[in-house]
């Protein structure tokens, strides 16, 4: 026991010696939380719009005023013809253009059918869809005002309730992803590099010839990173609660237990990588490209999994972080209990035991 403590102490010395890496280790989650929380909005705002108003009448003016007061749009100089619109699009200074025909008002009065044309820059398809939704709502709102109720014989009024996220806090979706990513960086990348580094420097040999059991060597390597991850986890939770006003709806204890299981999975992955590689560079590349990228892609926190081709959906089922993502979303954001996530927990625990067993079994106690 005393031996183990001494070894753990040695690992902590290694960690604390490299101040810059340590700074980034704790700086990364902070910066990510701030960026995701305050800078990256999935809401579409400040949409550049230009109007080609051939009508210049009271109705077109009123519609333009309404758009201007909606705060989603940012009016650019009006245009005089189509080629100017194209030029604006090519400069990327606008995302949509609104065109009123010359006889807008008289069409409206006489035939009851006036046409407005909306041109969107569909090179960004989601933004284009959202812009169309906004404009649709504004123009039909104006129309309703002109034709008071009674004219339209049937109306279905949707009452929208936003579940789990009444305030439309955009950062909610990202926090579980950020947590999973940080664990991957701290546990998998750092652990694998720290073991391989001892191999590269030759100090591994000294550890192996000591009377200390090889399994204990690995354990001593893993524990400091486990501690660092837990500290990081607490920092992320604190920032989410106090800075981003995210409520942790479920049990904090459950959240911790599940996270520890995932941390152990990541650590095992890191040890596994260190078994098969001999240089720091390849260990880094393996954990960055082989572990982090799939975490970003296939857990569903950036891109919806159900849109992916079937093969990717299959891949997402064998990646531990996608189960962790489901668990943490359920517990933290939806406030669900263990009965909803026992299946995912079981799979995650199974994976972590399997990976740990493979990593320990393959650990070579002889240097070739």
């Amino acid at each position: 026991m005393k031996q183990l403590l001494a070894f753990i102490q040695k690992e902590f010395y290694h960690v604390f010696r490299d101040k810059r890496t340590l700074l980034i280790l704790f700086g990364l989650p902070v910066v990510q939380i701030i960026l995701f929380g305050f800078a990256l909005n999935s809401e579409v705002k400040n949409i550049g719009i230009s109007v080609l108003d051939n009508a210049h009448d009271i109705n077109s003016q009123k519609i333009i005023e309404r758009i201007a007061t909606s705060s989603y749009f940012l009016f650019k100089e009006p245009v005089r013809n189509y080629s100017e619109i194209e030029k604006r699009f090519k400069e990327s200074s606008i995302k949509c253009a609104l065109i009123f025909p010359p006889d807008f008002s008289s069409d409206m009065m006489r035939t009851g059918n006036a046409q407005v044309q909306v041109i969107t820059d569909a090179s960004d398809p989601n933004t284009a869809t959202i812009v169309v939704n906004y404009l649709n709502a504004i123009i039909s709102g104006y129309q309703k005002e002109l034709n008071p109720v009674g004219n339209v014989s049937y109306r279905i009024i949707p009452e929208v309730r936003l579940l789990y996220n009444e305030e439309q806090n955009g950062s909610l979706n990202f926090i579980p992803g950020v947590i999973a990513l940080i664990f991957m960086i701290v546990c998998t990348a750092l652990t694998s590099v720290s073991v391989v580094r001892e191999k590269e420097l030759g100090t591994m040999e000294i550890l192996l010839v000591s009377p200390f059991s090889p399994v204990m060597v690995l354990l001593a390597k893993a524990i400091p990173y486990l501690v660092l991850s837990v500290i990081n986890f607490i920092i992320i939770l604190m920032l989410s609660v106090y800075l981003l006003d995210v409520q942790i709806k479920g049990s904090l204890l459950l959240l911790f237990i599940e996270s520890i299981i995932f941390i152990i999975t990541c650590l095992s992955l890191g040890l596994l990588i260190s078994n098969v590689t001999n240089s720091q560079q390849s260990a880094m590349l393996m954990s960055m490209m082989g572990m982090m990228l799939p975490t970003l892609l296939f857990t569903g926190f950036m891109f919806p999994i159900e849109n992916m081709p079937l093969i990717f959906q299959v891949i997402s089922h064998i990646i531990p972080s996608s189960y962790y993502y489901i668990i943490i979303k359920a517990v933290m954001l939806k406030g669900l209990g263990f009965s909803y996530i026992w299946k995912e927990t079981l799979i995650l625990s199974g994976m972590s035991i399997f990976l740990l067993a493979v990593a320990l079994k393959n650990f070579k106690i002889r240097l070739s």
Partner: protein, 373 residues
Amino acid sequence: MKVLGFLLQKEFRQMFRDKTILAMMFMVPTVQLIILPLAANFEVKNINVAFVDHDHSTYSQKLVNKIASSGYFRVVGSSTSYNDALILVEKNEADIVLEIPAGFERNLIREGSQKVNLSVDAINGTKSAIGGGYLTAVLADFSNSLDVNTKTHFAGREKMQGISITYSDWFNPKKEYKYYMVPGILVLLLTMVGGFITALNIVREKEIGTIEQINVTPIKKWQFILGKLIPFWIVGMIVFTVGLTVMYIVYAIFPKGSIAVLYLFAAVYLVALLGFGLLISTFSNTQLQAMFVAFFFMMIFMLMSGFFTSVDSMPPWARQISNMTPVTHFISVVRPIVLKGSGLLETKMEMLYLAGFAVLLNGLAILNYRKTT
């Protein structure tokens, strides 16, 4: 000039010696460019809807059918109570619950208006906004179709002042997501390859100790940095060319604008990016450190570049940061050049930015490289 020639010769020899790294430089981006756009799809479709129909009338049935046949939604179940439907949401099986109250048909006919409850899983903002929007549109469409069906009963009513909106989606009429993603991913991959490899380069010479041998020679600082820059610049341009080819062969996307302009931008951007990598490398002591510092900045650059979320939607301070990263300026020209056919005239500001970054970052790298410790 002769000195530079020798330095280049040395760098190229080193590069070709390590076959695995060389293969990685070309294979990883190619494979990723083929795979990533398939996975990285922000398109919102297959929204899962659960119905709670308390009415069981012809109209409520019609509404359910209309939603199911609209193409955006997948009906995952109809429950008898709201709580049952909520369980589907909790299990991640449904995204939206539509609750049709009892008396839906009766109220619609008698009073002309009826509320329905829409409960949206709002954890994912984009999905809930677009899904809710689609569903609201289908509802409006449904009530209009009822309107038309029964219009004859209300003959003699005064004419409505109608405005109809026509839409045209320019540059990507089918709104296919790949056109948006592929050019962006190309930029990201070029950035990752260029940034990481140069960041690790000088620091590696430091770790191995070979940098001492260069430091004692009369090689000038700028010659050394340029000697590092040029080989990776050539690699970067080849990676870019490979990327464009993959884009054309796999995704059938051919740049609408001038290829020469695209290459001009790529050339300037690479100089700026490699300068940044070299700057990190001159700062760091170990490869691990360089890797983490590079990762830290790459992460910020990518998140702020407008690749994931639009720069326009960011708050002013974030837009300032976004403006100060080279990736932003490259992404914001590659997409217009490839998709809209923008020319140099429309993008000249971005060119100035990129050129500024190139000079600044490489200048700093030269200044920060110390031959004496």
